[in-house]
Each structure stands twice: as structure tokens, then as C-alpha cells.
């Protein structure tokens, strides 16, 4: 069974993966990782400190350890109270110092579309259709009635002049490095979830809605798009190729795609 999955797939970035977080590769990955680390440090501290009290009490007050039962509570109430206060203060610090500002950054600081790679992704059971606007920088219209799973999976309307130069791939997202990316996510059928673990990107893809996200890759690499939301039988297999390339490689790939576009005088469909 294993080989069925591994064959023909060249694993490039295995060094990015281990027992812990995958190595980040986007501008905001360090910030997300910081929040993850801080919370986990707090968790370990709490667990250890409380565990010490817990075990201490169990040993000290086991029955048969002739001591008179004390009816009142723990004499130094300040201890549990300060343990709780510590959590409250830490929570506030996390919230106001990290989480709220970061979410604002993520949702409001969209990069300038002019200076970014803009892509549409149309998810379907069980593939990621990637839609580039082409040279004119404008996405052609797409309509559900025009969908043809073999030749036109996203239902591009070729009567729309903007659609003529659009590039679509199935399950292959390539972007240039060190340039912000804006992705408009939508789905043809059910809810999927677009996940790029190394970029610390995850966004549910919801039919009937077009949800924009952004990120900026900091290094090149070969990774995968994962689907994180149960979307049917082959949810487990809803992978995509995700390549971050340097400018030249990306441009070269784009040029090939453009060259393969049907010319105006050709009758294709």
C-alpha cells in the first residue's frame, strides 16, 4: 500500500518535517509559532507546578501517615490564588500582546494586489483547481452551468474577453518566492479546507462564498496542499502540489502555460 502513495512522488523538503511543527516558510509563520511556543511553555509550567503540589499532598496526607485531619482549607490561600492569577495575566498578555494584533494583521493588512501574485482556487471533490488571471491580471467569469469535469473544471466562460488568457491547473499551485500572494478561495460542492502547513495557512473553503487570504513565502520549496476538512470519500487523498519557486523559474513555467493556451483563431471547445 505504501508504495502506491510514494511512487512517482519526489519528496524534496523532508527536512522541513519532524516530530514538532513543520519548519515555517512564510512571513507570519514565526509569529504563529511564537504564540504556539508561549502557550505550550505556560502549559508545561502549569502542569509541572500543579503536579508537584498534587504529588506532595498525596504523599504527605496519605492515610496511616498519622496526622490529624485539618478541617479547614489550605493555610496559604495566596498560593492557589496566585496560580490562578498567573494564568489570567498570561492569558491577557497573549490576547492583547499577540493574538488580537496578529488577527488584525492577518485579516486587515492585505498586500497591494498590484504587487502580489493573485490566484483563485476552486476546490472540488477531490481536487484543487488553481486559476491564474493571466497577463491581463483579470480573472475571467466562471459559471456553474459551464462546468465540464474533463476540459473546463471551473466553468470558465470563454465569451468573456478576460477569460481568454486565464491559466488553470488541477492540483498544482506554483508561486514566486518573496512576493505576497492573495488567494481567493471558493468551492464547487462541499466545504473543504485549504491547508499549507509550512506557510501556517489554513482556511475553510465554503461553497457560495469567495474568501480571500494572503501570505508571503520566504523560501522556495516543494510542498503539498492538504485538505483539512472532511469532504467525502477521498478526503484523505485530496492533495495538491505546492511549489514556491524563484522568480525566473516561475516566469519560465508561466511562459510555458501561456504558450499552450489556445490561440484566438483556433476552435477548441
Amino acid at each position: 500500500m505504501e508504495n502506491e502513495y510514494l511512487n512517482g512522488y519526489h519528496r524534496m523538503n523532508t527536512s522541513d518535517y519532524g516530530y514538532w511543527l513543520p519548519k515555517g516558510a512564510s512571513t507570519f509563520a514565526p509569529e504563529i509559532d511564537t504564540t504556539l511556543y508561549l502557550v505550550h511553555i505556560l502549559m508545561v509550567i502549569m502542569f509541572v507546578v500543579w503536579g508537584i503540589f498534587f504529588i506532595m499532598f498525596l504523599v504527605q496526607f496519605r492515610s496511616g501517615n498519622e496526622k490529624k485531619v485539618v478541617h479547614s482549607g489550605y493555610p496559604k490561600v495566596i498560593v492557589p490564588i496566585s496560580m490562578i492569577a498567573f494564568v489570567v495575566i498570561f492569558d491577557m498578555y497573549m490576547l492583547f500582546g499577540h493574538d488580537i494584533p496578529f488577527w488584525n494583521h492577518l485579516k486587515k493588512d492585505f498586500p497591494d494586489a498590484e504587487k502580489s501574485t493573485v490566484v483563485r482556487i476552486v476546490a472540488q471533490q477531490f481536487a484543487w483547481n488553481v486559476h491564474y488571471p493571466g497577463q491581463d491580471g483579470k480573472f475571467g467569469r466562471s459559471r456553474p452551468e459551464l462546468v465540464d469535469e474533463k476540459i473546463n473544471p471551473i466553468g470558465l466562460d470563454f465569451d468573456d474577453p478576460y477569460a481568454k488568457d486565464d491559466i488553470t491547473t488541477v492540483g498544482q499551485l506554483r508561486i514566486p518566492v518573496e512576493k505576497p500572494v492573495i488567494i481567493h478561495l471558493t468551492s464547487k460542492d462541499v466545504i473543504h479546507s485549504f491547508s499549507l502547513p509550512v506557510m501556517r495557512v489554513k482556511q475553510d473553503v465554503i461553497p457560495g462564498m469567495s474568501i480571500p487570504i494572503w501570505f508571503e513565502p520566504t523560501r522556495t520549496g516543494n510542498w503539498q496542499i492538504a485538505c483539512a476538512q472532511l469532504c467525502g470519500n477521498s478526503h484523505y487523498n485530496m492533495k495538491g502540489i505546492f511549489k514556491v519557486q524563484n522568480q525566473e523559474d516561475f516566469a519560465a513555467w508561466m511562459a510555458i502555460q501561456e504558450a499552450e493556451l489556445p490561440q484566438d483563431d483556433e476552435e477548441v471547445w
Binding site: 499532598f57 492515610s63 496560580m83 493574538d99 466545504i191 491547508s195 467525502g232 478526503h235
Partner: protein, 619 residues
């Protein structure tokens, strides 16, 4: 009706369509434990697939184990105890179900699992565990049996409604199992049943119908618990003399009553979408098999998630609050001192109940929620973590100054503390939106909530069963078998659930039929899948000690003392088991708080002072 008249009623009235809360409690308990076993068994099939994707599942071994267990019960029960022997049917039933799975092309043909069947098993595991196992056990069984006794009531306020509530739940459960036998199989859209997947997938209709039965049962039960607690407390049982367990049941009942209608309406809407052509949750232009689906459209998939989580978040408190109630009873009894900070516990409970309605959308951070809403739900989530920390603080610091007996129920209760601790702590990164980006829908989430519900709730229920078994059957479970059961369960559970947190950190998605085999980022942590599968086997094998313990104890002739734990609360003020009709021979009167252990009376230390014994405590 006197007790004598009561016991002259027909068999059916006494044991099947009984209106006695104790019989109903036992019916709930037995049904819920069977569903827990079934839910667990479905999961063991899945876990084999996750550890060894695409390989033959040793289904024959499972069938044989269950048949042997059933035969063992028949044999041990002997001729004299036909009702005990009858329980073997549960085991034969599960064996038959597994065998049935291997027939047919779309399930486990030849023992090899298909993806759609994996999804069915996952969905049914989640649904059965939550709605047919843990909640009925926590509320229907423990609440029904113990609550009226602890407040000195002769029965529930509405005994007939209590009976209806059980049978409606039973029908819901049967429908849920029947769905495996329908064309297209059982539901396969996850226990969360997100639309539009659930609108178009097979199996969902029966799931929705079964859920409607379960919901109605819970609503009836909730009303009953609230009225009983408010109206039927015996004289002298003031609010602050209630055992903490009763408080947890009361708040739980309010949560069920206020939260379930939201899922009820959601389920009806989804059912209409499926059978009546409406499109509450379906936007326009959905494509299936290359064609636009014939729906009018205009629906919103996110509406389902709001309706679902408005129930399902309070629901997780329904899973854990009664467990906390059981733990406090067992811990105070075995530390031989009062609960330190009882009022703080009660206020925390109120606060948690109220707040649990204000946090639900932390399950939806990744749906594209904006900044204001996210800020609100992150903040409320952090706030709701405070009362949970207070619970733990109170339980840990109650140990101080006590005289701790390490009885079997106490071992479970003590293990619950760090386990619930891990469950609660791992909730923190999930409640904060930025770390949740990485962790959402990964195995980290699965690890987190299993620490809450398995080594959390389930462990607490074991504590409760060992603690109250002498009350219910008049016999004490064997301590040595209990300890073996305890250590096996704790070790197995940690082996199963801790690696999930690691896999989640590495980014492995949940609900993957191949356990992540196809993803690069899962490769370094794939080997953990095998560990977790063995962990689940260890859990399963050690439950045999539990089952045997119960059967062997029921065979014993010797009865335990009436109050073997030297407990103070009112359930011990009557015989064990309590008389069938009216619970108490003479109605008790309450003079003290619930946990008066080692108090001094007339200059003398009284090891335990039952709530109904009149004595003047000195400070």
C-alpha cells in the same frame, strides 16, 4: 402504593416499563455502557486501518473475542441468574455486527476497509460515544439513580416522563444502529455533519431522525431533573447543603434544555433539505458529478455550523460537568475532609454554565471570521478556562490536610486530575485564533478532546461505578481486579491519546482514511499510528477485568456493609440497594452540609457525620 404492593406488580411494570428512577437509571446505565463498548469497537476497527492502511483487519479475532466474552458471561452467570446471562447478548450482538460488516461490497469486503466505510465508522463512533454513550451515562444513569437519593426524594418529579425519556433514547439508539443496515450505510459526514456534505451524502437521513429522538429524550430528562432538584429536596436540604454532584446535574440539565433546541431546529432543517427539497444550507450552483444540483439555492452552509456548535459547545460541558460532580464526591469521601471552597465551586459552575453559550464559535475561527467576532470568542474562551482551573485548584487543595485512602474509586478520581489537566491545558492553544490556524482540524484537536472525554469523563464514570456499586447492588467490587483495570486503562489511554497531540503538531489532518500516509508532513510521525492502535488494544483488554469484576461480584453471596465508604450524603441513609418504592423507609431530615468528615462533637472527633444525623458540630 406501599413497597409491598409495588413489588407485586407485573414483571413488565417493575423491570421494563418501570417508572422507578432506580430501574430507569440502571436501564440507562446498561444501554449507555453497551453503546460505549460498541463505539469503542468501531474505533478499534478504524485504528487497525490507521496503523496498517489497506491491510486485512483481523475481524475474525474480534468476533471470536466477543463470542468468548459472551459465553464467559453465560457460564459465570449460571442457571440461577438468567438476567445476568442475558447481558451476553450485547457481546454476541457486537460480534454479529462485526461479522456483518465484512459482508457486502461497500463496507469491509474480505476485511479490507473502504474509505466510505471508514467515514461511516468515524461518524458513528463520534455520535455513539457522545450522544448515546457518555451523555446518557452521565445524566440518564448517574443522574437518575443518584440525584433523587442525594436530595432525599422518593423518586423523580415526573416518573412517567422519566420512563418515556429512556424509551425515546432507546429508539434513537436502535435507529442509529439500524442505519448500518440501510442501502448506502450509516451517516458518513462526521459527527458534526457539516452541510452541504451532509445534505448530499448517503446515510444522513436516518442519522437525523435518530438524533431527533435522542434530542427529545434529553429535553424530557432535563426538565425532569430541574423540577426534581427544585421541588423535591427533603426538608433541611438547603441549596448550600446539596452535594456538589447535584449541583453539576442541575446546571447540566439547564445546558441540555437551552442548547439542544438549537440542534433540533438545525436537524429538522437539514432533514427538510434532504427530503423536501428545501435549501436552508445549500448555496446556489452546487455541482455534483459534473452537473449543477437541482436546489433552489440561497442557503448558507455556515448557518448549520452556528446551529450545531451552539448546541455542541455546551454539550461538551454536559460531558464533563457530571464527571466533575462524581470526582468531588469521591475525593471528599476519600480525603475524609470537607470540600475546600465549596461556594467557589458552585459559583464557578454557574459561571461556566452561563459562559458555555458565549464561546461556541471558537470552533469556527478558520471559516473566515472577521476581527471583531474573533476577538470576542477568543476572549470568552480564555475567560471560561478560569472556572475550570478553579475546579482543579479546589480538588487539588482539598487533598491538603486530609487523610487520603487510596481505594479503587479514589485511584480513578486521582488519575482524573492530571488527565483532565492535560485536556484543559491543550484547549488553550485551540481557543486562541492564531495558534488554532495550525492546529485546527488536526489530530491535536482529537487528542485534546479525547483527554477530556476518555481519561476525563470515562475515568470519572469508572470512579462513580466503583464508588456507587455497593449502593446499587449491595456488593463491593473486587479491589484487586479494580486496580488492574485502573492501571491498564490509564496506561492504555495515555498511549493512545498523547501521540495524537504530537501528530497534530506536525500538522496531520483528522479524519484521514490512511492515517496521513499520503502526506509528506505526516511521514516522521506515522509510526505513532501503530503505538496508538496498541494503546487502544490495551484499553480494550483491560476492560475485560472490569466486566469480569462486575459479573463475579454479582455472583457473590456475601453483601457489603450498608455504608462501606463511611460516607455522609443521603444516598447512604437508606438500605443498599434502596427499597424499591419511595427510596427511604422513613423520610430523612437534613441537619448538615454534605461533607462533614472528622468534625468534633462534644470535644470528640467524629470520623463522619451523615447529613441526616442530628448532632451539634463545634468549630
Amino acid at each position: 402504593m406501599t413497597n409491598a404492593e409495588y413489588s407485586r406488580q407485573s414483571f413488565w411494570r417493575q423491570y421494563i416499563f418501570s417508572v422507578d428512577h432506580k430501574v430507569i437509571g440502571l436501564q440507562y446505565g446498561l444501554t449507555a455502557l453497551s453503546f460505549l463498548l460498541l463505539g469503542f469497537m468501531l474505533m478499534v476497527l478504524m485504528r487497525w486501518q490507521l496503523a496498517f492502511p489497506g491491510e486485512v483487519i483481523p475481524w475474525l479475532t474480534f468476533v471470536v473475542i466477543f463470542i468468548l466474552l459472551g459465553l464467559a458471561i453465560v457460564f459465570l452467570a449460571g442457571k440461577k441468574r438468567p438476567y445476568l446471562a442475558l447481558n451476553s447478548l450485547i457481546f454476541f450482538g457486537i460480534a454479529a455486527l462485526i461479522w456483518y460488516f465484512t459482508t457486502g461490497e461497500e463496507r469491509l469486503p474480505g476485511g479490507i476497509m473502504l474509505p466510505e466505510f471508514y467515514n461511516q465508522l468515524g461518524t458513528m463512533h463520534g455520535t455513539i460515544m457522545v450522544f448515546l454513550g457518555v451523555v446518557p451515562l452521565a445524566v440518564g444513569a448517574f443522574g437518575n439513580y443518584i440525584l433523587p437519593l442525594q436530595i432525599g426524594a422518593p423518586d423523580m418529579a415526573f416518573p412517567r416522563m422519566n420512563m418515556v425519556s429512556y424509551w425515546v433514547y432507546f429508539i434513537g439508539g436502535v435507529l442509529m444502529i439500524i442505519s448500518f443496515f440501510l442501502p448506502g450505510g450509516a451517516a458518513q459526514s462526521g459527527w458534526t455533519s457539516y452541510s452541504p456534505l451532509a445534505d448530499i451524502n448517503t446515510g444522513q437521513t436516518m442519522w437525523l431522525v435518530a438524533m431527533l429522538f435522542v434530542i427529545i429524550s434529553s429535553l424530557l430528562g432535563a426538565i425532569n431533573f430541574i423540577v426534581t432538584t427544585v421541588q423535591l429536596r427533603v426538608e433541611g436540604m438547603t441549596w448550600f447543603r446539596l452535594p456538589f454532584f447535584v449541583w453539576t446535574q442541575l446546571i447540566t440539565a439547564f445546558l441540555l434544555l437551552l442548547a439542544f433546541p438549537s440542534l433540533q431546529i438545525g436537524a429538522i432543517m437539514q432533514l427538510l433539505d434532504r427530503v423536501a427539497g428545501s435549501s436552508f444550507f445549500i448555496p446556489a450552483g452546487i455541482i455534483q458529478g459534473g452537473k449543477v444540483l437541482e436546489y433552489s439555492g440561497g442557503g448558507n452552509p455556515l448557518l448549520w455550523q452556528h446551529l450545531f456548535w451552539f448546541l455542541a459547545h455546551p454539550e461538551v460541558y454536559v460531558l464533563i460537568l457530571p464527571a466533575i460532580g462524581i470526582i468531588t464526591e469521591v475525593v471528599t469521601n476519600n480525603t475524609r475532609k470537607p470540600l475546600w471552597g465549596y461556594p467557589a465551586m458552585v459559583y464557578s459552575l454557574f459561571f461556566i454554565g452561563f459562559m458555555s453559550f458565549l464561546v461556541y464559535a471558537h470552533h469556527m475561527f478558520i471559516t473566515g471570521m472577521g476581527t471583531a467576532v474573533t476577538t470576542w470568542f477568543q476572549t470568552t474562551t480564555l475567560i471560561i478556562s478560569i472556572p475550570s482551573i478553579i475546579f482543579l485548584a479546589v480538588i487539588v487543595f482539598t487533598l491538603w490536610g486530609g487523610s487520603i485512602r487510596f481505594t479503587t474509586p479514589m485511584l480513578f478520581a486521582l488519575a482524573w486530575v492530571p488527565m483532565f489537566g492535560i485536556g484543559g491545558l491543550t484547549g488553550l492553544p485551540l481557543g486562541l485564533a492564531p495558534p488554532d490556524i495550525h492546529l485546527h482540524d488536526t489530530y491535536y484537536v482529537i487528542g485534546h478532546f479525547h483527554y477530556i472525554v476518555a481519561p476525563g469523563s470515562i475515568i470519572a464514570f469508572f470512579a462513580g461505578i466503583y464508588y456507587w456499586f455497593p449502593k446499587i447492588c449491595g456488593k463491593k467490587l473486587n479491589d484487586n481486579l479494580g486496580k488492574v483495570h485502573f492501571w491498564g486503562t490509564i496506561i492504555g489511554m495515555n498511549l493512545t491519546f498523547a501521540p495524537m497531540l504530537v501528530q497534530g503538531m506536525a500538522g496531520v489532518s483528522r479524519r484521514l482514511y490512511d492515517g496521513g500516509l499520503g502526506y509528506d508532513h505526516a511521514q516522521p510521525v506515522l509510526f505513532l499510528n501503530e503505538w496508538m492502535t496498541w494503546g487502544a488494544w490495551i484499553i480494550g483488554i483491560f476492560q475485560i477485568f472490569f466486566i469480569l469484576n462486575i459479573v463475579l461480584t454479582l455472583r457473590k453471596k456475601s453483601r457489603s456493609e450498608e455504608n462501606p465508604w463511611d460516607a455522609t450524603t443521603l444516598e447512604w441513609a437508606t438500605t443498599s440497594p434502596p427499597i424499591a418504592h419511595g427510596n427511604f423507609i422513613t423520610e430523612p431530615f437534613v441537619y448538615h452540609g454534605p461533607y462533614e468528615y472528622n468534625v468534633s462533637v462534644n470535644g470528640q472527633n467524629v470520623p463522619y457525620l451523615p447529613q441526616h444525623k442530628k448532632m451539634d458540630i463545634e468549630d
